[in-house]
């Protein structure tokens, strides 16, 4: 039998929630461990096997000069590199710093800011190294994570669709809450993958999976204004976990510009 592929899980600026999705696999985790050597996963075990690794899952964004170097090292050690979650794929909620002066924030947050070495921006991994696949979500969901690992093991393309959340709502039979209740919803501009959970509980989509393949944010913003959504709420809808993604960032800049 050929040797099992080696898996490494890396953390950058993030909350650990996406890595936890792997531990959250519970029942399937044994099957994963059966097919793959979990060689470097600090959250699960301090027993680390040295690289190189066949598959690296990278969580978190790049916010420090140190991490900017570290990700290059991770890339060098990884045959296949998959970024997981909104931080790694779009910069995460911490990309809100991209709209401000970080030095100013440092002086407010830290007693001795001179000890802090940080970048002015929070950026996705793909801005620093070549990546092989991006798995979206805040957090990612375990079904999609398993699908991606599965596809890697079986040498096939993962079944991860870049279309809107709306298609998932319709497939599960949820009546559109924007049409029926006038609830502001990011679903039409957000990528599917979560299974359209929030609208099925009468909550508008929060946009956790970031922009879908062809996001028309201007048209959605225009309609939401007609629905009476206040400007500050509109901004909040786009200024979340995926604010660093280009089309959401542009939507924010446009709304702020139009507001002035």
């Amino acid at each position: 039998m050929t040797e099992k592929p080696k898996l490494a899980v890396w953390k950058f600026a993030s909350c650990d929630g996406c890595q936890l999705s792997l531990l959250d696999c519970e029942d399937e985790l044994l099957a994963v461990a059966d097919r793959i050597t979990i060689a470097n996963f600090m959250e699960a075990s301090s027993n680390v096997i040295d690289g190189p690794y066949d598959l690296s899952l990278v969580e978190g964004s790049i916010t420090t000069p140190h991490d900017r170097e570290r990700i290059r090292d991770v890339r060098r050690q990884s045959k296949f590199l998959i970024t997981i979650g909104a931080c790694a794929t779009a910069g995460g909620i911490q990309a809100l710093r991209n709209f401000t002066d970080t030095r100013e924030l440092l002086s407010v947050v830290y007693a001795s800011p001179e000890y802090i070495s940080t970048l002015n921006t929070s950026t996705p991994i793909s801005e620093h190294v070549k990546i092989d696949f991006e798995l979206r979500g805040c957090p990612i969901n375990k079904t999609q994570l398993l699908e991606v690992i599965n596809a890697f093991l079986n040498k096939r393309k993962p079944n991860v669709s870049p279309h809107s959340v709306c298609i998932e709502c319709k497939k599960r039979g949820t009546a559109c809450i924007m049409v029926a209740h006038g609830t502001a919803c990011m679903g039409p501009v957000t990528q599917a993958g979560c299974g359209a959970i929030c609208p099925s509980y009468n909550r508008g989509c929060y946009g956790c999976y970031g922009p879908m393949e062809a996001p028309n944010t201007s048209s959605l913003v225009k309609w939401m204004r007609n629905l009476g959504v206040p400007e500050d709420e509109l901004l909040r809808m786009f200024k979340t976990y995926n604010v660093g993604a280009e089309s959401f960032r542009c939507a924010v800049e446009r709304v702020e510009g139009e507001d002035k």
């Binding site: 690992i149 809107s164 709306c166 009546a175 559109c176 919803c185 679903g187 062809a214 959605l220």
Partner: protein, 374 residues
């Protein structure tokens, strides 16, 4: 024209027996019911699940429930669901395969264990939509086995519309508001002062045999006239219209119209219209494996011509812009469908207008395209 001896009257208080008989005969009744302030289709346990006394207000991009002020059971128009949710399920397993110890593999077709449906309250437009999908899934050399089994077993209890929504335009598409054929039993609900009854017109032997178990009487000329009055009222309330004369040629002539650029600005490419449309039939197949790699499954899921994957071939998507995807959808629906299936792909139900999150209205778009030629 229905002969008088083919029309009967069922009193409101006897209609619950219809459900009893259907369930007794092994059918799963599916029909309208209120959920989360929307009239959706779901499995019904009996007459009490129907949206009694409810109506809705709908327009481009909006839908809201309201009280009618009477006890009508079918006093509303189509909601977000259509019968394709049941005949052409959104996700279904086609087959599964397992590796065998000798290095080969076995393949086993999935078995559709769905019980037979009785569709309650099928409107004229939706009956036409079912007939459109029949052409797609049943005609020709390759019949779709999932659709075909569900369709053959399904019983259709149609309801003639007594009202129309602002988004309805079945009269323009010649599909309603009165059902013409393709039903087992057609009901027209009549509320007249203190009277509440249904004109029941069987359309098949199953329909006659159902009727035989429900108390009924022969319909009077007055009852028939009252029923015709109902559908006439719906016809007069028709909220929208579309001029379909030479629509095929008109759309084919306007491939490069600037109007498509305007649509590109508004359309979200979200796919809601295609999912809500009762005739849209596109699907994709996906293969999944388990972690061991010894077990594989093939699943079929609804797909939309508004996604990039839909037209993806080596090198990229054939329709990379929203403009091209909207044009594909509209031109296929109203024009190319005629060449492909000999019928329009639009039945005038208005779902794509109501359930578009930004209220794009195809009747308006056709009018604007037409006007731009003058």
């Amino acid at each position: 024209m229905t002969k008088p001896n083919n029309a009967f009257v069922i009193q409101r208080e006897d209609l619950h027996i219809l459900f009893d008989v259907l369930i007794e005969r092994g059918y799963t009744p599916v029909g309208p019911t209120v959920r989360e302030a929307v009239i959706v289709y779901d499995e019904l346990s009996g007459l009490e699940d129907l949206p009694e006394g409810w109506a809705e207000e709908q327009d481009a991009g909006t839908y809201s429930l309201k009280r009618r002020g009477d006890n009508a059971l079918f006093g509303f128009n189509n909601g977000p669901h259509s019968w394709k949710n049941y005949l052409f399920p959104s996700r279904v397993k086609l087959w599964e395969g397992d590796k065998t110890e000798d290095g080969g593999f076995t393949v086993k077709s999935a078995v559709d264990t769905q019980k037979k449906f009785a569709f309650i309250g099928v409107r004229a437009c939706d009956l036409h939509a079912i007939q459109v999908q029949d052409k797609v899934f049943l005609d020709g050399e390759y019949r779709d086995p999932i659709y075909s089994k569900r369709r053959e077993e399904a019983l259709v209890i149609a309801v003639n519309c007594g009202q129309a929504a602002k988004t309805c335009f079945c009269t323009s598409m010649n599909t309603g508001p009165r059902v013409s054929d393709g039903y087992d039993l057609a009901l027209t609900e009549i509320l007249d002062n203190d009277q509440h009854y249904f004109l029941a017109e069987p359309g098949s032997t199953s329909g006659f045999s159902l009727l035989a178990e429900i108390p009924h009487s022969e319909a009077s000329q007055e009852a028939i006239a009252a029923a015709r009055g109902c559908t006439k009222q719906a016809q007069e309330q028709m909220g929208r219209k579309i001029d379909i004369s030479d629509v095929k040629e008109m759309l084919y002539r306007n491939y490069d119209n600037d109007r498509w650029d305007e649509l590109e600005k508004r359309c979200l490419s979200c796919g809601n219209c295609t999912m809500a449309c009762p005739t849209c039939f596109c699907s994709k197949v996906e293969d999944v494996t388990d972690l061991t790699g010894n077990h594989a499954e093939r699943w079929r899921e609804w797909e939309s011509c508004f996604t990039m994957d839909f037209s993806y071939i080596h090198g990229g998507s054939v329709r990379p812009t929203t403009r091209s995807r909207y044009r594909q959808w509209l031109v296929h629906k109203l024009a190319a469908w005629l060449d492909q299936f000999g019928t329009s792909g639009c039945v005038g139900c208005g779902r794509c207008i109501t359930w578009c999150p930004v209220g794009i209205d195809l009747t308006e778009e056709v009018r604007l395209l037409r006007n731009s030629e003058n």
